[in-house]
Subunit: 621 residues, 2 copies
């Protein structure tokens, strides 16, 4: 049997077989495939060549494994479908919605099974993609379930396709419970759909060898019962032994209790401040009334893991110091359980395993905050789809605060509150955009990982670091001001670097005096008199009284893009470096980095695209 249309890696399939109409056995009938081996281009990736794994759905029916070829700019995906019903959808979309998604669909019309590259329109209606960019390599029945292996270039140059970029990717999946006469008959609105966030393009860097005197320490939940609610943040206190001396953490990895892979969403280990003498033991929901108050101050990140991430290795020349004088003995483990099906009675002992050594490495690693000061002067008008705020770490600050040899950033954790949609930090040298430190065009505040950079970024004295966050406030009626509250906003990049310096915070905000000129103008425009109200209303109050129209929106944006800034070029505890940090000019950027153009696959023959046919036999299950 020949697959029509495709150009094509389905040369021939073994004996055509018959689908026994699924409807005979009801819509939920299980369907199994005979083993099919397509003509492969080279050999199929084996299990060991697919190093990354993630469960897609909370029940664990769907599991994705993948590997990355940076040379080919392509990904091999392996989708394991346990208990296949009438088919499955898998793909990607900008923010994980089933609409406007780039999909592969495995479906049956009751007689024949098909596989195709497809897309969903804004109404969720599925369409065959005229350019078939998912290349099916293998379909195999295994004891665990059906295994689909397919390949996809990062970029396909097809406007209907998702461009796989660094940073977060929102995977979407769906379960077909019954046959469909055609692909076009499928609409995602009628299906059980879900999303999973993951960093697909993991950096391709070898893990440094661990020192021979490496010890491990597990910080994990004590076999707790996961609450039967969608979202739980669990807090657990761990005390280091008395007299625990200074060590370097050189690696850490997740410990996820078997069976809970779909429930443990992210985990972080924080250290309490050194001056906190004692913290009572606690293990319970972070919003519990019984939680010790001072636990909130335990915010120094020692380790962070999120779904899909693997072990985190420090570069071999650096480690994260903990223990010893000036270091708190108290650690806080925080686990985010995501339990959308409200499963009951699930026990869990997940946590993080730290690998540490007493043989201190050459450099202490440090963490520095880049981006915006937490202040209401930086605000986002309501009803914006993509409003950008930008924070600067200026040349004056890096000149003063960095060592002569500069620093080396090897990892980064991006952070905003609920309105954040994109984050990028750009290194600017001599006025030119030089290198992207970290970029996430599909950033989600629900998915904040510490990510290793593909390439260590060295920052010299006099360099500028510009961090821009894009926000969506379509669902808001009032301006969103900067601040600590979850409905206020932040724009931060926590960069992990070595050697550690005194500079802990290099952030900016617009000069408050210039912002007052904005409020003046808006008042005059609206016929208001400029009376001196005493006391002057607060910045949030002033923002709340702005009538948001095209003029006020554009002028605020223009102001942020032009007015001088106040710099925070700070050591610990908000101590400024010596210098003049107010009314600083915005750093000038005279040239931009060119956006990389995706390598387009060669054009296909003009014959119309069509799905690949897959031989299937039904099973009465």
């Amino acid at each position: 049997m020949q697959a029509p249309g495709r150009c094509c890696h389905w040369a021939s399939l073994p004996s055509p077989s018959v689908w026994e109409a699924a409807s005979m056995y009801g819509t939920a009938v299980a369907v199994f495939l005979v083993i099919l081996v397509a003509a492969l281009q080279g050999s199929a990736p084996t299990e060991s060549r697919l190093p990354y794994h993630i469960p897609l759905d909370p029940e664990g029916f769907l599991e994705l494994s993948w590997n990355i070829s940076y040379a080919q700019e392509a990904i091999d995906f392996q989708l394991l479908v346990r208990r296949l019903k009438a088919g499955v959808l898998f793909g990607m979309s900008d923010r994980g919605k089933p609409e406007n998604a780039d999909l592969v669909v495995l479906w049956t019309d009751g007689d024949t099974a098909y596989f195709a590259d497809a897309w969903s329109d804004q109404n969720g209606q599925i369409h065959l993609d005229p350019q078939q960019d998912y290349q099916l390599l293998q379909v195999q029945r295994t004891p665990e379930g059906l295994v689909l292996l397919f390949k996809r270039p990062f970029g396909t140059c097809d406007p209907k396709d998702y461009l796989i970029e660094d940073g977060t990717v929102h995977l979407v999946y769906g379960i077909l419970e019954k046959p469909f006469q055609s692909l076009e008959a499928i609409n995602t609105s009628g299906l059980r759909m879900g999303l999973q966030r993951v960093q697909l393009l993991k950096p391709d860097i070898p893990n440094p060898a661990l020192p021979s005197d490496t010890y491990t320490m597990e910080i994990h939940a004590p076999n707790i019962r996961i609450p039967s609610q969608e979202t739980t943040y669990w807090c657990h206190v761990k005390e280091l032994p008395k007299g625990f001396p200074r060590h370097h953490i050189v690696m850490y990895e997740p410990i996820v209790t078997k069976g809970n892979e779909g429930l443990v969403h992210h985990m972080e280990v924080f250290q309490c401040p050194p001056e906190m003498d004692s913290v009572p033991y606690f293990s319970g929901p972070c919003d519990s009334e019984k939680k010790p108050d001072n636990l909130n101050y335990c915010r120094r990140v020692l380790a962070a893991w999120a779904l899909g991430a693997k072990a985190f290795y420090y570069p071999e020349e650096a480690g994260l110091a903990f223990g010893g004088p000036g270091s708190s003995r108290y650690l806080r483990l925080e686990i985010h359980y995501h339990n959308p099906l409200v499963k009951e009675g699930q026990h869990d002992s997940s946590g993080i395993r730290l690998y540490y050594t007493p043989t201190l490495r050459r450099f202490d690693a440090g963490i520095m905050e880049l981006g915006l000061v937490y202040t209401p002067v930086m605000a986002i008008p309501p009803q914006e789809t993509d409003f950008v705020l930008t924070g600067y770490c200026t040349d004056s600050c890096t000149q003063l605060a960095l060592p002569p040899s500069g620093i080396h950033i090897f990892a980064s954790q991006l952070h905003t509150h609920l309105a954040g949609r994109k984050v990028v930090t750009m290194l600017v040298r001599d006025g030119r955009e030089w290198e992207i430190v970290n970029q996430d065009n599909h950033y989600s505040p629900q998915f904040q990982e510490i990510r290793m950079l593909k390439k260590v970024v060295s920052v010299h004295r006099g360099d500028v670091l510009i961090t821009s966050c894009t926000y969506n406030t379509e669902d808001r009626k009032q301006a969103t001001v900067g601040g600590f509250g979850i409905m206020e906003e932040m724009c931060v990049n926590y960069v992990h670097y070595y050697p550690q310096t005194e500079l802990e915070l290099c952030k900016s905000a617009v000069d408050a005096g210039f912002l007052q000129e904005f409020f003046h103008l808006i008042n005059r425009f609206n016929g208001g008199k400029e009376v001196c109200t005493c006391p002057q209303p607060s910045i949030p109050q002033q923002f709340a009284s702005v009538p948001w129209n095209s003029f006020s929106r554009k002028v605020l944006q223009a102001l942020y893009g032009f007015a001088p800034i106040s710099m925070h070029c700070n050591k610990s505890w908000a101590v400024h470096f010596q210098g003049e940090w107010n009314l600083q000019p915005l750093p000038k950027v005279i040239s931009s980095l060119e956006a990389p153009t995706p390598q387009c696959p060669p054009r296909q023959c003009p014959s119309p695209a069509s799905p690949a046919i897959i031989s299937i036999v039904g099973d009465r299950g």
Copy 2:
């Protein structure tokens, strides 16, 4: 001999022939082709099927003829090359520069002659276009010269190709004086290149029959000697007979003296104001000191022609009134001679032939001005590449001033001064963009024609007409304010319509009070104190003192997009219609017209593009 690569309309060529190396006879050796007939798709268009003609170069070596198929969305071009040397370039670019142009190239390497779809990069370097969209239909030697016939869709969906749109097209041409080893060896900077502006997409409307009692009147230069300078505006006074009664002009056409087709750039016939009792006879350059002063007031357009235009027909229900009481007997003919080669001793009697009838048609045609008031409050910052100013004709004005049956616009003449690059007038009905009245994305102030609309646009009472002009001020150091001077700017669409109404002018400008708020803000931003200077500086002075930075540019743009307007809803002699015309809100537009998507030609086979080979024999001529 088979043309390699193309998919292809060169099935086979008659006997291969030999190019006798041009270098043997010097670089200027003339080259003639044997008659070649390619396998044609259907039959080649005959002369009568190519109704439009334009000379490309001032010497008249290159002449373009074309026809338009609106059904196929394609143009047949016929390029006549008199005295062919080693080849020729022809194509289009945004504004007529030889760089970044979409080209066809006929060239020889000394042995073989080639034809290919090519493009020039920003340095003028020629490259083969991977997608060959110019389809060569015929190559023919004629007594006049070599004739190339080729076809091109309006849009090719190839990003390297020019999109042929309504309005002005900048044709570029070049002469190859010597052979080139390859296409890539050609750079336009080393060639004699030129440009010619033309409206390629002439409207496809039948000409109404002329009445039987039609008379003609020629208004033409009296066999003058064209000055030997690049640019001359010639003014010539024509007096109508005493007692000449009221007539309707129903058609006019150009009279261009044979041999001067490349020199006569445009011609207009203006009528003097009715109150001007006498105008002395004059025929000479318009900037001559001997020119009668009051000739400048003769500005009512009776007829206008520009290069490439054909006869202008009024719709059969309307005519342009002239003669009779209340109409001046004095006409002014203005001819723009463009003589870049500074030819001497060229005599000329070009002009315009009016066709008029005493049997008045049902409607008088009228001319209405849409766009911006001539006032300095509308200004363009310096160093802008595409700054947009917009003028409104509001619903209040059309409600009041149009007849209940509305008006019908059948022609339009767009007008700006030197910085104008694009002009568009949009009809907005019930808040929705309804129909484009006229649009020119490649507008040139050097090429202002009255253009028939493809389709008559009816304007109802309560409709809004929005005219936007895009300006380029990259070469300017100061703001460009609105006004009458050639270095000031205008944004006007003169629409020709019937039935004539009292409304002569429906234009707007930003409210001057709101503009003052802009100057206030900029002063405060720059630390200036708001002292009341008496007298207040003029608007141009205030614009001249604005420091142009990203903030002042964006705020001015936001102001123009938001602040209320002053309307001029005027009869003749600046008499307002009764109503409140100050501090009017900007018309709201809640939905946009979708841009038309070009019909892409079917994808070609993936074999690499290559030039078509043309058999040629050398001639020692």
